[in-house]
């Protein structure tokens, strides 16, 4: 009997809940840390990025309008499905050269669970009732800022990405992610998990490709409300922040700590991508 030939996966983009190749027809070779060829990942173009932003914008109001309880359950569902596919993630992290792939996958799953729990708590922790000097009921609530661009850290291809993505979307933002350039495959697999986790199409869009090429387009896009620059290389940061000025994007940089560290997660990572709205209402009989 001849040995069965395994079916290989094509590593595609994840846009609007679908898995297109780059419209540019480009791809780039992904290798393991020790140089083995692993796949050809799609090399996203500016047009792909724009499509991703359109999808994220279209999904944003519906995602934000879901109840916080519901969003929390969906994030938890992502953790459930990752747990079910952890073998695949571990193999990909091993290929990427992770010191401890098992620990890496566990931490990424636990991070989803941790942020899932914040969905219906962040407003209580970050909001306030304000005792103004007058007959007004006055309160402040956090709201999602809108469409968030995320440049995932190039190292820590899974935990680093989840640590940026989960706090961004738990509040009702939608995201356009630029995955780790050297190790995009865990991000591609995460897209496949998200597609089957009740996360509505367009809430998360994942682009693989050349970071240096994509960052300026993301930072300068007029329909992106905020950008998480945690994964932006130092030599691109000034340009990214300069381009972000054009529509007064919020620019957020996550903690520099080891993503396994407890300090790598916190409600401040959620509120950094939220707006505070204060409502005044008169009181009177």
């Amino acid at each position: 009997m001849s040995e069965r030939v395994p079916v290989r996966r094509t590593a595609k983009l994840f846009i609007a809940g679908t898995f297109p190749r780059s419209e540019s027809g480009r791809s780039y070779e992904v290798t393991s840390h020790d140089g083995r060829p692993l796949a050809h990942a799609a090399q996203a173009s500016r047009k792909d990025l724009r499509e991703a932003v359109v999808a994220a914008r279209a999904a944003q109001s519906g995602w934000a309008a879901m109840t916080a309880y519901n969003r929390g359950q969906i994030l938890y569902r992502v953790a459930e499905l990752m747990e079910g596919r952890r073998g695949q993630f571990e193999a990909e992290l091993a290929d990427a050269g992770a010191a401890d792939p098992v620990r890496g996958v566990s931490a990424a799953i636990d991070r989803w669970v941790w942020y899932a729990g914040w969905a219906d708590k962040i407003a209580q922790v970050a909001g306030s009732s304000n005792p103004v000097a007058g007959p007004y009921f006055n309160f402040t609530i956090p709201e999602p800022t809108g469409v968030v661009g995320i440049v995932a850290p190039p190292d820590q291809s899974l935990l680093g990405l989840v640590s940026r993505l989960a706090p961004a979307i738990v509040s009702g933002n939608t995201a356009v992610v630029i995955a780790s350039e050297p190790a995009p495959l865990p991000a591609v697999s995460l897209g496949e998990v998200l597609a089957t986790s009740d996360v509505p199409a367009g809430v998360v869009n994942i682009l693989t490709g050349r970071t240096a090429e994509l960052v300026p387009w993301l930072a300068g896009h007029m329909d992106v409300n905020a950008i998480d620059v945690t994964g932006v290389p130092e030599d691109l940061l000034t340009e990214a922040e300069t381009l972000a000025a054009e529509n007064v994007k919020r620019v957020h940089r996550g903690p520099k700590t080891d993503p396994f560290d407890a300090a790598a997660q916190g409600p401040a990572e959620i509120t950094a991508l939220m707006e505070f709205k204060t409502v005044w209402h008169p009181m009177g009989a």
């Binding site: 306030s128 103004v132 409300n225 940061l237 300069t242 007064v248 997660q265 204060t278 005044w280």
Partner: protein
């Protein structure tokens, strides 16, 4: 319609009721406030600041150059360690002192504010001054309670804050900037607006009298180039209130520097009146929303969205109300509309209003005489405005209201949010569920329901989108002045 307006306009003239200017003792010239003392500018430059209601000169003030900025930042840096090291309770006492002195000298400050900025004395007296004092009082109380504001996150001051403020609420904006910065343990270099330096300089005297350690607060008068030099100086944080255009330039200038930044920028707020609104109350709110401080308000309700069934009646009421607004001497206690802050601003308003007419909108202005000298603009309404008109999209920053209509709440939401700005919004309806439904959908940092232009030190203020980021006021207004650790898991 015009008959009705004539019948209801006031049949009498108000006798002049000017507030005395005697209380204000101005120096002929002012230096820069650096390191606790007034010093001559190294730039060697100065300029004349005027009363915009008469164009009369009030004083010569220094124009700080790059060297002066460097000196002030150095003074702030030198003072930083000592100020941070003070127990919060002691820092608080200095801020309480400032609050008390502002209350004690409120009349003097209010008169000076109206003289230098052109705003009606009843506003500077009843709004600017009480709120400025309240801001210092509120944040004073936080100075020794920061750990409660951010539990588990070991709040620490950032260092030196560079703060650039606008000319529309000169003293109030200085207090919005200085009070939280100082309470959090930072030292500050404050640059007041070019046209309104005088209350900031009087505040410098108050700070001297309060015996704040030298260098904790430095005040540099000057123009845009002074502000630009401050942005480029080695400060840890920039806080800016002003135009979106300048805010973007500051964002670019600070890119890659790691300087913390908060921006409070322009706005084009929708004030939305539903058919079930209490119309007389709404008219007052609309008038307050756009004519408060001559419309020199970033959160002004400059776009009125009226539900179609009440458009005609509301417009009649508004026109009648406009006839009763009293325009003139800012120091007169009866004045509703004071002077436009500067010739440059007046020209901007005139240009945009001319554009509105060219684009086909219909202008209404009450018949009121304008003083011969100074900078004035009649309270104005535009009807027949569409979403694409420049007067519906651009911030005019003057007493000019653009009126649009809508049919459904959904349409009101779409129109209100159809702007790159997002600072404030107003909602007028008797239906509580609709207020909350609308408030939820407004892409704006402040939503006023059945009221407008209310401010309080406990109430966070700031914008969405191109109206800037960061909040001032309340607990949320402390965070931009603190370094915070990520909390433990």
């Amino acid at each position: 319609m015009s008959d009705a307006i004539e019948r209801t306009s006031a049949p009498w003239d108000y006798a002049p009721a000017p507030e005395s200017r005697e209380l204000v003792k101005l120096q002929d010239r002012y230096g820069l406030f650096i390191g606790g003392a007034f010093v001559e500018p190294k730039s060697g430059r100065s300029y004349t600041t005027i009363d915009p209601s008469s164009e009369e000169p009030l004083a010569e003030v220094a124009e700080a150059g790059a060297q002066d900025v460097a000196r002030a930042v150095e003074a702030a840096r030198e003072a930083a360690d000592g100020w941070q090291a003070l127990p919060g309770a002691e820092r608080a006492k200095y801020l309480f002192r400032i609050a008390r002195q502002l209350q004690e000298r409120a009349r003097e400050f209010a008169v000076l504010e109206s003289m230098n900025g052109g705003k009606p004395i009843k506003e500077s007296r009843d709004i600017d001054l009480p709120l400025a004092a309240a801001h210092f009082f509120y944040y004073a109380g936080w100075a020794d309670k920061l750990a409660y504001a951010f539990p588990g996150r070991s709040p620490r001051p950032l260092g030196v804050a560079g703060q650039i403020i606008p000319w529309n609420f000169p003293l109030l904006m200085a207090s919005w900037k200085l009070a939280p910065a100082l309470a959090a343990g930072n030292t500050a270099v404050l640059k007041p607006a070019e046209t309104t330096p005088l209350t900031a300089l009087l505040l410098a005297q108050v700070i001297q009298e309060a015996e704040l350690p030298p260098g904790v607060v430095n005040i540099l008068t000057g123009a845009g180039s002074t502000g630009a030099a401050l942005v480029d100086a080695p400060v840890d944080k920039i806080a800016f209130t002003g135009s979106t255009e300048v805010g973007k330039a500051i964002r670019r200038a600070t890119a890659g520097t790691g300087k913390r930044l908060t921006l409070e920028l322009g706005g084009k707020a929708a004030n939305i009146v539903f058919e079930d609104a209490p119309l007389d109350q709404a008219v007052e709110g609309v008038v307050n929303g756009i004519f408060f401080n001559q419309g020199h308000v970033c959160c002004a309700g400059s776009r009125l969205l009226v539900q179609e069934p009440v458009f005609e009646v509301l417009l009649d009421k508004l026109k009648q109300r406009l006839q009763t607004l009293r325009l003139g001497d800012p120091l007169d206690k009866n004045t509703d509309i004071g002077a436009i802050n500067s010739r440059a601003q007046l020209e901007k308003i005139e240009a945009l209003v001319a554009t509105g007419q060219q684009e086909g909108a219909e202008l209404y202005q009450p018949d009121c005489a304008l003083p011969e000298r100074g900078f004035w603009f009649r309270p104005s309404l535009f009807t027949g405005v569409t979403q694409s008109h420049r007067i519906a999209r651009e911030e005019i920053f003057g007493p000019v209201l653009s009126i649009l209509t809508f049919r459904t709440p959904e349409e009101a939401v779409t129109k209100a949010n159809d702007t790159p700005y997002g600072l404030s919004a107003g909602i007028w309806t008797e239906k509580g569920s609709r207020i909350l439904w609308m408030a939820q959908r407004m892409r704006a940092g402040v939503v006023w329901a059945n009221t407008f232009n209310r401010f309080d030190p406990t109430s966070p203020f700031g914008g969405y989108q191109e109206s800037g980021f960061g909040r001032e006021g309340g607990l949320h207004g402390l965070a931009p002045y603190l370094a915070l650790d990520g909390p433990p898991a």
